[in-house]
């Protein structure tokens, strides 16, 4: 599967570079477009949302269609998952850009890949436009780390996306079980673990002291790792490092912090205090059944954790920062933004006007509650007071946003992510028993080769 994905990336890259019919990136003069020129302009919006998120998004879209003064029509449609959309966009770019949507959900690294062939517009001119933009004082309302995540130094600080929401890697923990462990004298601290040592202590204690309210029949385990690049990054960040050296413009997957993080996780596995996840979202399931004390995953999964616990063992649970060696937590924040592919000036402007509406404080507050994503504007957060009270875990996670750091917004990150997950699993399970630093150095070389390949053609 991994090889297939890498092959696909290579093929797409080759196809993108080989074809001469690329979309033209031009200097647009959006300010000269008259409002009446936008009447009847159709904005096709490709997204990945399903279920209640899709329903809420459609409500927002319909509301915009009914209320916008320009007569713009947004047509939002689900186009599969993130990977499917990425594939569709790269293929459409390869085919000359004729079938590109007006607006598309894209992770930063995906946006970077599209921009290698000038597939996206720079949103800065629209954002700062005196006619169509967002005033500077309103721009200050956006959380800085979210707002800047879509500015790409590798592309002359172009803004290739705009954030409608964000998520974060958090540690989910069973409060009742931790209390039981503390009362039984199995652990020496109260509350969630804040350091890797405390995490290790509790995880191993959990194996010996099963949760009294567990409803699942699985053997108790302290931590279930679902190997993923975001988890790799989260644990590395928490160990005081990064997976990308922004000064050198190269990956640093073999940094000291990364080696320490992987060594720590391996020690948990070696001691029998952690296990791997064998099925998709299996850690959520076991957590809900009260047989897994800790999991690490996206904050956007909270509704699923809530259902799992309510339908499962029914205990008190919450989220906390990833246990860290740094003085303050360092949290991996991520989330797909929306990017505007190069189409016509009117279509691009119309897409932007929808984005502006989508990220307005009132819409953001509704979107955050329905999607369980974090809003990107401080004023939206202010109107979430009642929601914070109703969802204490969400409120806790929200407090951690100030400690955010992001994964690298570089082209070609997708195959690297797959390799990172595979290597992570090979290390912790002992499948690859070489020295961890040696394995990570090999991974780093692969990642940098991918980066070089994906950056081919960039000026």
């Amino acid at each position: 599967m991994k090889k297939l994905s890498v092959l696909l990336m290579l093929l797409l890259a080759v196809a993108v570079f080989a074809l001469p019919i690329f979309a033209q990136s031009e200097d647009r003069d959006y300010d000269s477009i008259a409002p009446e020129d936008l009447n009847g302009v159709v904005v096709t919006f490709w997204h990945q949302h399903t279920g209640t998120r899709e329903e809420q998004l459609m409500e927002i879209v319909n509301e915009f269609n009914e209320t916008n003064e320009y007569g713009i029509i947004v047509e939002a449609s689900n186009q599969g998952g993130y990977g499917d959309i990425f594939q569709k966009i790269t293929t459409a770019l390869a085919a000359g850009g004729g079938d590109l949507p007006s607006l598309v959900v894209a992770y930063q690294n995906q946006a970077a890949t599209y921009e290698v062939v000038d597939g996206l517009i720079d949103i800065n001119p629209l954002l700062n436009s005196p006619v169509w933009g967002i005033p500077e004082e309103e721009q200050a309302d956006f959380f800085e780390s979210f707002f800047n995540a879509d500015v790409f130094p590798t592309f002359d600080n172009e803004r290739l996306g705009f954030p409608p929401n964000r998520s974060m890697e958090v540690m989910y923990y069973n409060i009742d079980w931790l209390n039981e462990l503390y009362e039984a004298g199995a652990i020496s601290f109260q509350g969630p673990p804040t350091t890797p040592e405390q995490f290790y202590e509790a995880a191993c204690a959990a194996v010996e002291n099963p949760f009294s309210g567990a409803t699942g029949e699985n053997a108790p385990t302290g931590y279930q790792l679902s190997a993923d690049a975001s988890r790799f990054a989260a644990w590395t960040f928490a160990h005081g490092g990064d997976i990308f050296d922004y000064e050198a413009g190269q990956y640093s997957l073999n940094s000291e912090a990364a080696v320490e993080a992987m060594t720590f996780l391996k020690s948990l596995f070696d001691a029998g205090c952690a296990t791997e996840v064998f099925e998709r979202f299996g850690d959520q399931t076991n957590f809900g059944a009260g047989t897994t004390l800790f999991t690490v995953g996206s904050s956007s999964g909270m509704p699923f954790y809530r259902s799992a616990v309510e339908e499962g063992a029914g205990f008190e649970w919450s989220v906390a920062a990833i246990p860290h060696t740094t003085e303050e937590p360092v949290q991996n924040i991520y989330g797909a933004s929306v990017s505007i592919p190069v189409t016509t000036p009117e279509e691009e402007l119309a897409a932007w006007l929808f984005v502006k509406y989508y990220t307005s404080p009132e819409v953001q507050a509704r979107w955050a509650q329905a999607s369980n994503y974090f809003p990107v504007r401080a004023s939206a957060a202010e109107s979430l007071t009642e929601y914070f009270e109703a969802e204490p875990a969400y409120a806790t996670a929200f407090e951690l946003l100030q400690y955010g750091r992001s994964e690298p917004p570089v082209p070609g990150y997708d195959p690297v992510r797959e390799e990172m997950a595979a290597v992570m699993m090979a290390i912790v399970t002992g499948e690859d028993d070489r020295d961890i630093e040696e394995i990570l150095t090999e991974l780093n070389e692969f990642a940098n080769e991918e980066l070089e390949l994906a950056s081919m053609g960039m000026e």
């Binding site: 297939l4 092959l7 696909l8 093929l11 797409l12 196809a15 019919i21 096709t44 490709w46 990945q48 949302h49 399903t50 279920g51 998120r53 449609s77 689900n78 186009q79 599969g80 998952g81 993130y82 499917d84 594939q87 569709k88 293929t91 390869a94 085919a95 000359g96 004729g98 079938d99 949507p101 998520s167 409803t215 699942g216 029949e217 699985n218 998709r280 979202f281 959520q284 399931t285 809900g288 059944a289 995953g297 996206s298 956007s300 999964g301 509704p303 699923f304 954790y305 259902s307 799992a308 339908e311 499962g312």
Partner: protein, 437 residues
């Protein structure tokens, strides 16, 4: 004259009539029970009329064998009416409790029996074939020697079959569970959550995607059979310059992964490479051209035409066709037949296993496809296949496993039915084309 008393063995038709009577009686009993045990339910006229009509049809057919065929059809029609009625109740309420659930499904089973009684009529003939009347009258017990090695072999095979079936059984079991039961990893649901199927069908708009997939699969199969049969016949039976080389090139395309041809295919159907026919034009006024106006995106053609030329199908059919004796062709020639008549009247009838095998494999491939349909469709309401509907139960952070499994079972059901219907010929097709391992 043989005065030995012959045991009663119902005829094929009588067996079906007895089955009809049995189902009708069961339906009457269960509807009576539901009427008596549930306050306010009342006597359901639809079901009672169905049961009584079934009983009458059964009795008429049994005592008038010459009418049996017609009474059988009548029973099937009222059985279908009963099935539709139960589906309506299920869709409207989707909630039954305690013993009523059992009665409901028993009654539904009985109406299905009325509908399906035409199929069970074959059973007695099989009995006759395996055991003669003489054997029965003499009380002779037919025994087959069973060796120890056979017992061991069958035990191991049963065990392996069970292991192979486990994921499938787990899928079915999970599809009837509550979310809580999936979280607690139970193996068997405490009560069958049949509503999961209704919810899955409804949530994922399966009615649209199911129809789409069916149309796509049938169109693909029709086109593929025409292309593959003609090509395979040419490679097998007609000698022409370069046939060997062409066939080798064709085989070589089998080695190219689908993912590699994805972008070239996309460029072709998008009208970027060479002129393609405009899908809205009507035969014989087909307009060819390039560019956006000629693009096949979001059409049935884009989902079926690219798969109508399959190297594997041509290869498989060709392997079957070459085994057909040359003497048949010579005889046909003497009778004045050309290649097309020989193909249609001689080759195709005896190539049924191979054709069914190709049909089944194509259906499976078409039914399971997702990557290509996602790539070439933009409007979710148009031509998205059933596999796309399954995504409704998962997102980036979690999944509703019980609904996902119910959806998955609905998705594979047509393939299972098709496989069971063609199982014998499918195996035969594989075995006679040199593809077995």
């Amino acid at each position: 004259m043989d005065n030995t008393k012959r045991p009663f063995i119902p005829s094929r038709a009588a067996f079906a009539d007895l089955f009809t009577i049995g189902c009708s009686v069961m339906l009457l009993i269960t509807s009576w029970y539901m009427w008596q045990s549930v306050d306010g339910m009342g006597m359901n006229l639809n079901i009672v009329v169905t049961a009584i009509a079934g009983l009458i049809f059964g009795l008429i057919g049994y005592y008038n064998p010459n009418l049996s065929r017609w009474t059988s059809i009548g029973a099937a029609v009222i059985g279908l009416n009963g099935i539709l009625y139960y589906l309506t109740i299920y869709a409207e309420t989707c909630q039954f409790e305690g013993t009523l659930t059992f009665s409901f499904w028993l009654a539904a089973l009985a109406t299905s029996g009325l509908f399906g009684q035409v199929v069970v009529s074959r059973a007695p003939s099989q009995v006759k074939q395996s055991m003669t009347t003489q054997d029965l009258t003499r009380g002779k017990r037919v025994r087959q020697r069973v060796s120890t090695s056979s017992i061991v072999l069958y035990t191991v095979m049963t065990f392996l079959a069970f292991i192979a079936m486990m994921p499938f059984l787990w899928m079915i079991s999970t599809s009837f569970m509550t979310l809580g039961e999936t979280i607690n990893r139970t193996w068997i649901p405490s009560e069958l959550q049949v509503c999961n199927y209704y919810e899955a069908w409804d949530t994922a708009s399966f009615n649209i995607y199911f129809t789409n997939s069916l149309i796509i699969a049938l169109t693909t199969i029709a086109g593929l059979l025409v292309v593959s049969i003609l090509a395979a016949y040419a490679f097998a039976k007609i000698k022409f310059i370069g046939s060997g080389t062409l066939f080798t090139i064709l085989l070589a395309t089998l080695m190219v992964p689908q993912i590699v041809v994805m972008i070239p295919n996309f460029l072709v159907v998008n009208g970027q490479v060479f002129p393609i026919p405009e899908t809205r034009s009507v035969f014989p006024f087909i307009e060819f051209g390039m560019g956006r106006d000629f693009s096949w995106m979001d059409t049935l053609a884009v989902l079926s035409v690219p798969f109508m030329g399959s190297a594997f199908s041509i290869f498989l059919l060709r392997q079957f066709f070459v085994q057909i004796p040359h003497e048949l062709w010579e005889a046909a020639r003497i009778d004045g037949a050309g290649h097309l008549r020989f193909l249609i009247q001689i080759v195709l009838p005896i190539s049924r296993p191979a054709i069914l095998t190709v049909t089944l494999l194509t259906f499976i491939a078409s039914w399971n496809s997702l990557l290509w349909p996602l790539l070439v469709t933009q409007d979710p309401e148009k031509w998205r296949p059933i596999t796309y509907g399954l995504q409704a139960f998962s997102d980036e952070a979690g999944t509703q496993i019980h609904l996902l499994m119910a959806g998955a079972f609905i998705t594979i059901l047509p393939m299972l039915i098709l496989y069971f219907l063609t199982q014998k010929t499918f195996t035969e097709g594989i075995a006679t084309t040199g593809l077995k391992g």
